[in-house]
């Protein structure tokens, strides 16, 4: 019987513990080693390196399921194509829907994937699948992409949130979550208000007192923390350390801090404003921002719906890419468009398209991505994938590879190894730089 470390063998427990030593930091380091940042913070050279490498993800979530026919994989003139045409782009052989004219001029920074076959065409199941990169399982509560990125790219002592999720509409509103990674990686979830909860100092407490009260707490806690080195105890101290920084980051969420010119550049819609806020957040070092735009679930009036929503997306996304590029942030920021599934080639009696997960599209732009790449093909009517089929896990592997995160990495849940990407899934090299 092989003595696998995965069976919870106590021998291996001892080995790990003695490897990390018994100093005060031991507890914190032993856990934070997975975050690979606490060691770096102690080493000034590495700290600098890490800052340079600070990467972020902006996920533009097209809640309800955007139609690939009206966005990235048009089929003009076909019975399934609908009334809209396709247009040329800044990539010679590539055409996208005429509803996305601005993005058509920005494919040099963007890779389109047209060959997702994810099989789950149910809002709940599809959302879970595309949020976590794998099918739901009874025994394991998988973390969503935001939690994974917060864990992999975040800093233990970060003065800004690790994971921000904006979902203003009520349809399909879904918080997602960190699963077994725990509440540490839960999102700051903004719905009706753009102000994160408990971020403001209460009126009854002057600034000085707020700070000095925190200093007293830290002072009184020191004896206990030092005598009980333990990752959980350390996280307690770390959480309180971060409070002032997080409070200061409130201004990041305030669009009034941006000059009117920037606001005009993005546009006035809620989605466009949130794209601007996303840029502010990643500029300040937030590793993962999700901006949801609902509700693309066009079972009826598909074409009207997409006329409106695509215009919003086209403007918001292109402004975001331009702005990131101008600020030198695009090479360290990965921008994703994704949904729970796509839409049927078949146009129904209400001029709608229904749920469809057999052949649909998403895009990746920026960090680690080969701009102009188009991966995968669907048949002329868009019924199925004919080349380059990708699963949700493959997309996740690709995302991690683009960000320089080891897609083969494993966490451990008790005795069980949990690879961060679903079994057998690999990055798609064709879209990677």
């Amino acid at each position: 019987m092989a003595h696998s470390p995965f069976c919870g063998s106590s021998e291996h427990g001892v080995t790990r513990r003695s490897f990390f030593g018994t100093t005060v930091f031991a507890g914190a380091t032993a856990f934070a080693a997975n975050m690979r940042v606490m060691d770096a913070l102690k080493n000034p050279c590495l700290a600098g390196e890490l800052k340079r490498q600070q990467k972020s993800v902006i996920l533009l979530w097209l809640g309800g399921g955007a139609s690939q026919f009206e966005t990235w994989d048009p089929k003009p003139g076909r019975p399934t194509g609908g009334p809209f045409r396709s247009i040329s782009t800044d990539i010679p052989s590539v055409q996208i829907s005429e509803l996305m004219p601005k993005m058509a001029q920005r494919l040099k920074t963007t890779a389109i994937i047209r060959s997702l076959n994810t099989r789950n065409a149910d809002h709940g199941g599809g959302t879970r699948l595309m949020e976590t990169g794998r099918a739901m399982e009874q025994a394991v509560d998988y973390p969503d992409l935001g939690a994974l990125i917060a864990r992999e790219l975040g800093r233990a002592d970060s003065q800004v949130p690790d994971y921000v999720s904006m979902y203003s509409e009520t349809e399909g509103r879904h918080k997602g979550g960190p699963g077994f990674l725990g509440a540490r990686y839960a999102p700051t979830f903004l719905t009706e208000s753009m102000i994160p909860p408990n971020i403001r100092r209460p009126d009854s407490l002057p600034e000085v007192d707020h700070q000095e009260r925190a200093d007293l707490q830290k002072l009184l806690a020191r004896r206990f923390s030092e005598r009980r080195p333990n990752a959980s105890v350390a996280s307690h101290g770390m959480a309180y350390e971060r409070v002032r920084g997080i409070m200061a980051s409130e201004s990041l969420f305030d669009i009034n801090k941006e000059p009117q010119s920037a606001r005009d550049f993005y546009g006035p819609t809620q989605f466009q404003e949130q794209c601007l806020i996303a840029r502010r957040l990643v500029e300040a070092g937030v590793p993962f921002v999700k901006v949801a735009r609902a509700w693309w679930d066009s079972h009826g009036q598909n074409f009207e719906t997409h006329l409106e929503l695509c215009a919003d997306l086209d403007q918001g996304m292109s402004a975001l890419l331009d702005d990131l590029k101008q600020r030198g942030l695009l090479e360290s920021t990965l921008v994703i468009t994704l949904a729970e599934f796509g839409r049927t080639p078949n146009i129904n009696a209400s001029l709608g398209r229904d749920h469809f997960a057999s052949a649909w599209s998403c895009t990746l732009s920026g960090c680690g991505i080969k701009g102009g790449a188009v991966y995968g093909k669907t048949d002329p009517d868009g019924h199925k994938v004919v080349d380059g089929e990708m699963k949700s896990g493959d997309l996740f592997a690709t995302i991690f590879a683009a960000l320089g995160v080891d897609y083969k990495k494993e966490y451990h849940l008790g005795a069980r190894p949990i690879p961060i990407v679903d079994f057998g899934c690999k990055p798609t090299q064709d879209v990677l730089a």
């Binding site: 069976c7 919870g8 408990n198």
Partner: protein, 544 residues
């Protein structure tokens, strides 16, 4: 003594199949705590280590209160214990805690976390069932019966069926969670292939367990019922189609008696089941003569098989008080994952079976042991000992309810809660406390392995006006209001420490607080802030 051992060794040999021989297990005449300490000390001595000394009185009374009462001690309770000179004060403390109304609430909450921890939504009837069961010290095997095959018509088991009901729509969930919770065995990997690392678990075991649940369904009236037919089919990794036998995790199987039934009668039964699932005016669900779930209970509790059931709960209860199972992780009880103290586990298992699965007795023994009472500080120059030696106590985060309850007590005026009053008065007060702590407890998650506190918790305590007002209010029933009235800073500080952290402050702490308070223009604001610093201390957040 030797004669007794001889007699016992024969009896034990007969009842233990494949386990260690009697010669390797200590006498059953030992008390639970004696057996624990004997085995734990043996391994520590083997390593030539000195265990950590006993925790000091304040730490021990705090730990015992949190573990048995679900809350920190009041200042009066802590002081009384620390100042007592009685030789057997620790025994008296444990007995008093076990006899208090607090015990039932907390043990109920612990069992609730074990049984329904992963389930969302509230299940109040189930919690009521647990509370009643703990109060009457219902045996664990009887509770297992209640939960798996109990009836809502029976007062003693009413509410227990929720265990099956909330999971009945997902066969995998019901199978896997029953195996994990009651048998310490997470076989989910064995669904798709023979477990890659564990020889004990093959697909047959997974689907064998699933067959016991396959016929279970929930009626439209929200009752749990069973169909008359049905089997689990699966595909092996070789691609063969197989029909699962009813197989328990030990490999023991049962066969279903063949019943001759006409196609017509079969159709009638199927329609009846369908009606049950769709019609909320249907009568009581028909009960098949052969109930797979009842057979599972029968098999699992048979003397030939019941060690698995007993070991699993022993391990879980051990983990509740020591912070780590004798088998770790607690859902990996198999031959490839050795127990840290196999003979101890066998002894405690045998003891539990022989005492009719009396959980409270086991709890008492664990909490009275030396192993439980060790300090969580390691000051020796030697390397920190491996946690599976239990040579140093583990630091454990408070559960959401423990934290919420403790905060309520810690922020209250010292005299406002008087558990020593006992009787109905304390029963009522304690019940109120339990209810009022419920809401706030929802803000926190159940600690799992590698528990990390997120910045949201720190922000909540730092900035939420409601939280701050509730805990720091300057009113007579609050700690702030009570210490405001004290004449000297010294007593203000020590009262705050006893109430929040159950101990006397050190000289450095007194100095730091005095300095802080002196600098404040507004003395009451200063007290509020000092109390805040203590309430948000890691020392309050953890059980050490």
């Amino acid at each position: 003594m030797n004669l007794v051992r001889c007699l016992w060794s024969w009896t034990v040999l007969l009842s233990f199949t494949g386990a260690v021989t009697a010669a390797e297990i200590a006498s059953p005449d030992l008390t639970v705590e004696q057996a624990i300490d004997q085995y734990v000390q043996a391994r520590i001595s083997e390593r030539q280590l000195q265990p950590a000394p006993n925790a000091d009185d304040c730490t021990l009374v705090r730990r015992t209160s949190l573990d048995l009462l679900g809350r920190i001690p009041t200042a009066a309770e802590a002081k009384r214990y620390a100042e007592s000179t009685e030789a057997d004060k620790r025994l008296k403390l444990v007995e008093a805690c076990l006899a208090s109304p607090d015990f039932a609430y907390h043990f109920r909450n612990q069992l609730d976390s074990l049984l329904m921890g992963g389930q969302k939504g509230n299940h109040n009837e189930f919690r009521e069932y647990l509370l009643a069961s703990v109060r009457q010290n219902r045996s664990w095997d009887q509770m297992f019966r209640d939960m798996l095959i109990g009836s809502d018509d029976d007062a003693a088991s009413k509410g227990a069926t929720a265990f099956v009901r909330v999971r009945a729509r997902e066969l995998d969930e019901l199978t896997n969670e029953t195996s994990t919770i009651f048998f310490g065995v997470n076989v989910s990997c064995a669904k798709c292939h023979d477990h890659p690392l564990v020889e004990d678990w093959k697909q047959d075991h997974y689907f064998g367990m699933a067959s016991f649940f396959q016929r279970t369904y929930v009626t439209k009236k929200n009752g749990v019922a069973e169909k008359f037919t049905g089997e689990v089919k699966f595909k092996t990794t070789k691609g063969e189609d197989k029909v699962a036998k009813f197989m328990f995790l030990t490999g023991a199987t049962i066969d279903e008696p063949v019943v001759e039934i006409s196609a017509e009668d079969r159709k009638k039964l199927d329609e009846e089941v369908k009606k049950q699932m769709q019609d909320d005016k249907a009568g009581p669900a028909p009960k098949p003569d052969f109930s797979p779930r009842a057979k599972l209970v029968e098999l699992a509790l048979q003397p030939a098989n019941n060690q698995m059931f007993a070991r699993a709960i022993v391990n879980r209860i051990w983990e509740m008080y020591l912070g780590r199972g004798i088998v770790h992780p607690v859902d990996q009880m198999h031959s490839g994952n050795a127990a840290s103290h196999p003979e101890l586990l066998d002894w405690l298992t045998r003891d539990l079976i022989q005492h009719q699965f009396d959980l409270k007795r086991l709890v008492r023994g664990i909490v009275l042991s030396q192993a439980y009472s060790r300090s969580s500080e390691w000051t020796a120059s030697a390397e920190w000992p491996s946690p599976d030696l239990f040579a140093v106590a583990l630091v454990r985060p408070l559960s959401p309810r423990q934290y919420s309850l403790s905060l309520r007590l810690a922020s209250a005026a010292p005299e406002s809660y008087k558990p020593e009053a006992g009787g109905d008065e304390w029963q009522k007060r304690r019940d109120e406390l339990e209810r009022s702590a419920e809401g706030f407890a929802g803000q926190f998650e159940l600690p799992a392995e590698n528990f990390q506190i997120g910045v949201d918790e720190a922000l909540l305590f730092s900035n939420s006006p409601q939280v701050l007002d509730d805990y720091l209010r300057d009113s007579p029933d609050r700690l702030v209001g009570a210490i405001k009235a004290l004449p000297e800073k010294g007593t203000q500080i020590s009262t705050a420490y006893w109430t929040t952290l159950s101990r006397v402050p050190t000289a450095d702490e007194i100095r730091a607080c005095e300095q802080y308070l002196s600098k404040r223009n507004d003395p009451v604001a200063g007290l509020r802030q000092m109390v805040w610093a203590l309430l948000t201390s890691p020392e309050l957040r953890f059980n050490y």
